[in-house]
């Protein structure tokens, strides 16, 4: 008797808790795209770099904007190229090793991280190029270009301070000066823990 009443009470309480949770408005979604769904302009840009069939296309949808991303491997590096929803190039990101960054840039980054964190570990480095599509295409395919473009470095860093440990995404310019920093918030993983 007691057990049945107790069970019913707990189930009712749980359902009540669930109602406000379902009213959240946050909307952020990333999904795979078939190559046929990608705007021609974006497809042509990638075709000029590689004819590999291993290019993966993604659609990233936020509340106020959407973008298209192509991910592939080229010349032993992982590339991630972002376009807007109509296929205009936004930026090119290439995964790098720490040793591939110029010594002066590395010095600036190291100095900044040493000041910010008691202890740090760089988890991922991406160089980010922005500029004219033709300039970036030349940079990717030939490895160099005489035209102007912007270089930035995006680093994912595990940073331990005296208070806690967290994962941050930092953006540095090519002089190693910090442009922005944001804390990475993990998705809830209670369904994997309990």
């Amino acid at each position: 008797m007691f057990k049945n009443k107790f069970s019913k009470l707990v189930w009712v309480l749980l359902c009540t808790f669930a109602l406000p949770a379902s009213a959240q408005l946050k909307y952020e979604k990333e999904s795979r795209l078939a190559v046929e769904e990608v705007p021609e302009q974006a497809r042509n840009f990638i075709k000029a770099i590689t004819t590999s069939k291993k290019v993966k296309w993604y659609l990233e949808e936020g509340l106020d904007r959407s973008s298209i991303e192509a991910k592939f491997e080229y010349k032993d590096h992982n590339y991630s190229i972002e376009f807007d929803s109509i296929g205009t190039l936004e930026d090119v990101e290439v995964q790098l090793k720490w040793s591939e960054i110029a010594p002066t840039t590395r010095e600036g980054i190291t100095q900044y991280l040493a000041n910010e964190c008691k202890k740090h570990k760089v988890r991922r480095i991406q160089v980010q190029y922005t500029g004219e599509p033709s300039t970036l295409l030349q940079k990717i395919v030939m490895g160099t270009t005489t035209f102007k473009y912007t270089t930035r470095f995006e680093l994912v860093v595990k940073c331990r301070t005296s208070e806690n440990v967290a994962l941050f995404e930092y953006l540095f310019n090519d002089q190693g000066q910090k442009l922005s920093a944001s804390k990475i918030v993990f998705k809830n993983s209670s369904h994997l823990e309990y």
Binding site: A18, P20, Y58, L167, E193
Partner: protein, 230 residues
């Protein structure tokens, strides 16, 4: 033999192992619905409340006529408090109250989890020790290890309104009254991220035990999980 071939041989043996044990073994079919409420607290603390009920539809021995039909088995209520100890790790402790056959069973739980975030999936390692106390039986001590993974079926992460696969494999070592047993669990589930705070999962929860020193016992539960985060 190449590494690839070795993998498939080992995979085949693991997959066929339960079938070899079918002879002279017993089975149970049923359902295992659960509701899991996770509450975030300040300073990296969180709590987890869970209700899980077990309903049995049929049991018997393989190759023989069914022994019994539907029966209600038990209901578990648990509360766990967790503290984040690192970027990906949590240390937890809690208590489970089980209602079974008109008696109450108490379980103390200690748990450590590490969640790895890889480019297209998440992996969670879980080590649990627990002690089960009941009025009619001697205390049972268990040491468990579970590897669970979430594989998104669209894109690189299981976002809102997307499906994912959750696969887990757990090994439970049990010691009760100087008798050792090992239980192996394989749980393939199909999950759906309904919102940032709610997920539902459904699939098979297969358990194999008593095969170390007796007749193997196979349990096939239809697992239905509802996860809520507030």
């Amino acid at each position: 033999m190449s590494t690839k071939h070795s993998f498939w041989v080992v995979f085949g043996v693991v997959l066929l192992f339960p079938l070899v044990l079918l002879a002279q073994s017993s089975y149970r079919f049923g359902a295992l619905p659960s509701v899991n409420l996770n509450v975030k607290l300040k300073n990296d603390w969180s709590t987890n409340f869970k209700i899980e009920s077990r309903q049995q539809f049929q049991e018997g021995n393989f190759g023989a006529e069914k022994a019994s039909g539907y029966s209600y088995v038990l209901t578990d209520y648990s509360a766990i408090v967790a503290k984040k100890t690192g970027l990906n790790s949590k240390l937890s402790g809690g208590y489970l109250l089980r209602f079974r056959d008109n008696q109450m069973v108490h379980r103390l739980i200690q748990q450590y989890t590490i969640t790895q975030r890889l480019p297209s999936l998440r992996l969670a390692h879980r080590v649990v020790t627990d002690q089960t106390l009941s009025p009619k039986e001697k205390t049972e001590f268990r040491l468990r290890y579970r590897l669970a993974t979430e594989i998104p079926l669209n894109g690189q992460s299981a976002d809102v309104n997307e499906l994912y696969l959750k696969l887990s494999n757990e090994y439970l070592n049990s010691l009760q009254d100087a008798v050792y047993d090992l239980e192996v669990r394989l749980v393939p589930l199909l999950g759906f991220t309904a919102s940032e705070s709610q997920r539902v999962e459904m699939g098979l929860n297969y358990r194999l035990n008593s095969f170390v020193s007796g007749s193997p016992s196979h349990s096939f539960w239809l697992s239905i999980n509802w996860y809520i985060v507030i």
